[in-house]
């Protein structure tokens, strides 16, 4: 580790914090255009965060310290996730701190805290949302792990940086297993980020909500942190997907030129990914909540298929 590596790491985190709300804003814009609506400004999520940070926090009478503590934990988890996922370069000093399995754990930790916080104040909707979130989570996590095992087997390492380095910077090989893993990962990302067809980020119907139901009682800076964390999660998942399946353009070292090239490539990839997300969200209706297990079961099946393809067909190569 050198000072460049450290600076590169800090830059990646700062970029994540800045780009994440922008990605959310971009997806919202695309959704609006696809629905023939005039779109909100691209910077709308920043205005929202600014407004929320200025507002007073209103706490429920029964709120325990956990309720106040949880937004910080969730936000911290998402920042950590963004730090260990290679966005610009694979030379990440923080990368040894956590491998992909730990990354899944970090997402799990955030989920547990936000669900506990939702149940903490004892409203019906919080409990409802927390329960549903756990239903989605416990089905999504194994599928995500399977996806990661497939890529880990290719690179013989569970470190995200090593996986990306293997896939991006060695001889170009087509791995059929990654196609299955990619489909599974897309499914999981939709469920984990509370997007249509599993959840609807734009709904105002409290009885159908999952993620929104959990955060109904939050306000002020707590809500801002949670909203920001949700943006970061979408960003982290997008970057993880890009790093695993479209890793080209990520710099190998922390040379200034490499980073300068990596930034526009990343932005372009995120823009395309965000637009695709909006398209999928627009043409799909939300599934019945008891279809969500089927949806995630399919994801798991694809992930297992990917692993089997890797084990049975690709190990000779």
């Amino acid at each position: 580790m050198n000072i460049f590596g450290f600076l590169g790491q800090l830059f990646a985190i700062a970029l994540a914090l800045l780009l994440a709300p922008l990605l959310t804003g971009w997806v919202n814009q695309c959704r609006a255009w696809l629905q023939n609506r005039s779109a909100p400004p691209l910077l709308q999520p920043y205005y929202m965060l600014h407004k929320l940070f200025l507002k007073d926090v209103v706490l429920a009478h029964g709120a325990s310290p956990l309720f106040r503590f949880a937004p910080f934990v969730v936000f911290g988890c998402m920042v950590l996730a963004c730090a260990i996922i290679p966005t610009l370069s694979t030379d990440l000093p923080f990368a040894p701190a956590a491998d992909t399995i730990a990354l899944v754990g970090v997402f799990g930790l955030a989920r547990i805290f936000i669900s506990l916080a939702a149940m903490d104040v004892g409203t019906a909707f919080g409990t409802l949302g927390g329960r549903r979130e756990m239903l989605v989570g416990f089905l999504a996590e194994p599928a995500l792990l399977m996806v990661i095992f497939t890529t880990a087997m290719i690179s013989q390492s569970t470190s995200v940086a090593t996986i990306v380095e293997t896939l991006a910077h060695r001889d170009f090989i087509i791995y059929p297993s990654l196609a299955f893993a990619g489909i599974a990962f897309t499914f999981v990302s939709f469920a984990e980020n509370a997007r249509v067809p599993v959840d609807n980020p734009a709904t105002h119907l409290e009885l159908t909500m999952i993620h929104e139901a959990m955060i109904l009682e939050y306000s002020g800076r707590h809500l801002a942190l949670i909203e920001w964390a949700a943006s970061l999660k979408l960003y982290a998942y997008s970057c993880l997907g890009l790093a695993l399946f479209f890793p080209w353009g990520i710099a190998e070292g922390n040379s200034v030129a490499g980073l300068l090239l990596a930034i526009p490539v990343l932005v372009a990839k995120l823009a395309i990914g965000g637009a695709l997300l909006a398209v999928i969200e627009t043409i799909n209706a939300k599934v019945r909540i008891f279809r969500a297990p089927e949806f995630l079961g399919t994801a798991f099946l694809f992930a297992v298929l990917g692993l089997l393809v890797r084990l049975l067909l690709e190990t000779q190569s």
Binding site: R31, L34, Q35, N36, R37, A124, F125, L128, V196, P197, N200, A202, T203, H204, L205, E206, L207, T208, M209, E212, L216, T282, I283, N284, A285, K286, V287, R288, I289, F290, R291
Partner: protein, 523 residues
């Protein structure tokens, strides 16, 4: 004239509105016996309200309107001023329960037995004060009012392993009307839903008292804003029956034109909202665009987006010239094409149909038992439409000449209610074209001089279902009592049944597929 061999003499209401017979029961037993006979004859309870007649005849009066294939029958029963009690009809017609409770809260005439919980009274006035009595001091209007006491309400508890309650509302996460829903659930499964409504109570019936006929027309058009034409026409029809006035043919054509435009506007909005509740925002924005264009043409031709105050006793307040009628025909053609395309998209969208099919199903037997009318009833296969011919019933003008084809579907679920709306849009567009092309030439308004002591009932097939307005005039020709009745009274309990066996997150979709009025039923 007598019905079902019951000893009640009926007289047919004069005028050109739908067929209505009015009669008086001699005793509570006679009323109850008539209700039983009506139920046996496949009738339904269309409305129930009370009035304070102590000034004129020294008694209270309860009015029950029963709906049949051939028309409507209103039975009135005089109750002694000292102890006004009448027999409970909710055992015969479950729909009676909430109407009886509302009548007790407002007029202070109670049933012997049945549910005695308050319905519209939420603690805004004391239990022994009845706003619709003549001698109720106008405290509430004087600004002094009563202290607003919080009122407890005994929801029916549901027990058992793992059963718990989810209270929802009256304040919701979205901007909608207030209503409280108490779900008893196991996990996501709904065991029971109990509604508590009345948060929109604003004393409309009290406001009618003492007004002249024109003021009454304005108020009637504001009972439920989405049904302003239906209410205004039902009110006008009741006043015309009470005063012996006949609106000219062109006025009837114009009224039908407005009513159908109101129906199309609401159906367009509902279909969009149904898509939105299943997170298909594309459908929402498309239908909302169509609805907005529709309302803008309303504003241009009728001077008001919802066409408020255009229907008055005696006729209409405006006439349409040939270019306006041409614009309507052109718009019908354009909208018809777009609705057809959108209907295909909705039908073929697997995700949407998966949410719609089998969700929130009720069957025709239940619909009949609950006295349901309108879209929700037709979606179970009941052919109930006051505009359409059926056995033994000829619709009043101008519908008789148009040959309205009622839209039905037998499935009774969300998909059926959506399909009925699509079919009704298509039929309404056809009616609008016929009405616009064949509008008869005549004046559009005649004088409807108030008839002291007159009394009438108007029935109109609004977009949601059957809208009734009962009108009684006092000795000076002013309004003594007006009761507007929204089809939502009967449909709210049907919603409680529809959501049983379904899961909590499907409730918003089921609720939207009924799209009931809070304001119209809370009065």
């Amino acid at each position: 004239m007598r019905f079902f061999g019951e000893p009640i003499e009926f007289e047919k209401q004069a005028g050109i509105g739908g067929p209505v017979w009015l009669g008086r029961a001699e005793s509570g037993e006679a009323l109850q016996a008539f209700a039983v006979a009506a139920h046996r004859a496949d009738g339904r309870l269309a409305a129930l309200w009370g009035s304070d007649e102590r000034r004129r005849s020294g008694c209270f009066r309860v009015h029950c309107v029963f709906g049949f294939m051939a028309g409507h029958i209103r039975v009135s029963l005089d109750l002694p001023a000292e102890h006004p009690v009448y027999p409970d009809l909710s055992g015969i017609f479950p729909a009676a329960s909430r109407m009886q409770r509302a009548t007790r809260d407002l007029v202070g005439i109670a049933t012997a037995g049945g549910d005695q919980r308050p319905w519209l009274r939420h603690g805004a006035w004391p239990a022994d004060w009845y706003p619709l009595r003549h001698d109720a001091a106008q405290l509430a209007n004087a600004g002094a009012g009563f202290p607003n006491a919080p009122s407890d309400y005994d929801f029916v508890p549901v027990g058992g392993e793992g059963a718990h309650e989810i209270p929802v509302g009256p304040i919701h996460a979205g901007i909608i009307e207030p209503g409280h829903f108490r779900f008893s659930v196991i996990g996501e499964r709904v065991l029971r839903l109990e509604q508590r409504l009345g948060y929109q109570h604003k004393g409309v019936e009290k406001l009618f008292v003492g007004r002249n006929l024109a003021e009454g027309a304005r108020l009637a058009g504001r009972v439920s804003g989405d049904s302003t034409c239906a209410y205004a026409w039902a009110y006008a029809s009741a006043v015309e029956a009470a005063c012996g006035a006949s609106p000219p043919p062109r006025a009837l054509g114009l009224r039908a034109l407005m009513l159908e435009r109101e129906r199309v506007a609401n159906h367009l909005g509902d279909l969009g909202a149904l898509g939105n509740d299943a997170a298909l925002a594309f459908g929402f924005s498309q239908f909302m665009r169509l609805k907005e264009d529709w309302l803008r043409l309303n504003a241009k031709l009728f001077g008001q987006r919802f066409m408020m105050d255009r229907i008055v006793p005696g006729g209409t307040t405006l006439d349409l010239e040939a270019p306006a009628l041409r614009a309507i025909v052109e718009q019908c053609e354009a909208v018809g094409r777009e609705v057809k395309a959108l209907g295909k998209i909705y039908d073929e969208h697997a995700g949407l149909q998966d949410r719609f099919l089998t969700t929130g199903a009720i069957d025709a037997d239940l619909a009949r038992e609950l006295s349901l009318t309108g879209v929700a009833a037709r979606a179970t296969g009941l052919i109930l439409d006051a505009r359409a011919h059926r056995q033994g019933y000829t619709p009043p003008p101008p519908w008789a000449m148009l040959g309205v084809r009622p839209a039905t579907d037998e499935r009774g679920d969300v998909a059926a209610r959506a399909a009925v709306r699509f079919a009704e849009i298509v039929e309404s567009l056809r009616l609008l074209r016929e009405l616009a092309v064949g509008l008869p030439d005549s004046e559009v308004c005649v004088e409807a001089p108030p008839q002291p002591g007159g009394d009438g009932l108007g029935v109109i097939e609004g977009w949601r279902g059957e809208v009734l307005v009962g009108v009684a005039l006092d000795g000076e020709g002013r309004l003594a009592r007006v009761h507007p009745h929204d089809p939502s009274w009967q449909a709210w309990p049907a919603l409680e049944h529809a959501v049983m066996r379904d899961i909590v997150p499907d409730f918003p979709l089921i609720n939207k597929s009924f799209n009931l009025s809070y304001s119209g039923a809370d009065l």
